[in-house]
Symmetry: C3
Subunit: 140 residues, 3 copies
Amino acid sequence: MIQKFFTLELKTNGQKLYEFTQNTIDWINKYNFKNGIINLSIQHTSASLIVQENADPDVQKDLINYFNNLVPMDNKLYIHTTEGKDDMPAHIKSSITNNQISLSIKNGKLLLGTWQGIYLFEHRINPQTRSIIHHFLGEI
Amino acid sequence: MIQKFFTLELKTNGQKLYEFTQNTIDWINKYNFKNGIINLSIQHTSASLIVQENADPDVQKDLINYFNNLVPMDNKLYIHTTEGKDDMPAHIKSSITNNQISLSIKNGKLLLGTWQGIYLFEHRINPQTRSIIHHFLGEI
Amino acid sequence: MIQKFFTLELKTNGQKLYEFTQNTIDWINKYNFKNGIINLSIQHTSASLIVQENADPDVQKDLINYFNNLVPMDNKLYIHTTEGKDDMPAHIKSSITNNQISLSIKNGKLLLGTWQGIYLFEHRINPQTRSIIHHFLGEI
């Protein structure tokens, strides 16, 4: 069994979904991981990791709109308001979605469905740099 | 350390919770997995995996009703509408719940609470065939 | 590769976030785990596990308020009401958040962001005892 670690840094520019499926696949290919688990964890509590459809980009727009309606950016609703109107909603959205995902690799292939992509879901308005730890545990 | 893979295919028939705890346990018993992790991942973005109470079936009805109220099947709310009024809500519900769960096995026993069951949560109205990958990493 | 198991029992006293990051770190240090995954799973369906900000305690208050507004404790909304007005909302909140998290350990260090803590999110009003299974898979 081997283990490898890699931190993917992504720059974000507003509330969007940023796909990084190919970055993860490139890392798998670089080290020829054969079978194992990749544990992904984002080191922040105001952005999320989600697996979503990568076919129609309108799905992403609808997701962003939906979450902004579900968790309004309205400081009157929150106590924690010092970091901006988008900060507390970002923490809530991060609790509703995920900050960690484990993916399986079989025979060198990341086991995602045909239409699935891995995304960073940015909940803050201003530009951020986000660290997504990749941790492989398995065999080459 | 050994690794094994198995794809469970479940046919669904509408918005319900479909329990598959026993299928997972049967697979563990078939190969005598002793200690390890089973990583479950669903290969679709319009259905989810959740661990929920398996005692009172009314809990499942309430969950389905709640999620249908939280994410209305109303095409006026969404841009992505070409695949039916239940499709975009299905993607949103999948983001709110989970598409991946890691379970622990100790001494051949799946570590779930007394009242916990593993469910496929189907968000589409029409019949579907869903693939749930089971990936064991551990020892026999 | 080694595997270890540990069940953390936490007593709760109402709808709050209970941090247990230090308990997890103490367990890692006790056995000198070097690299690996800790799979955390809560053995209940009316409380959750979440990773959240541990800097400003107001974030936790806002989270609790938000979830109580999102999932009202109003028995008129639910069929499953025999276990109290907070029980069905607790199951729903548990589906919206997480009952399982996998954490990575590298060189003996739990890979959490600077402001991240691990919490039990209790959704029931009355005192409870909650079991959180810790399962390490990796190397010393």
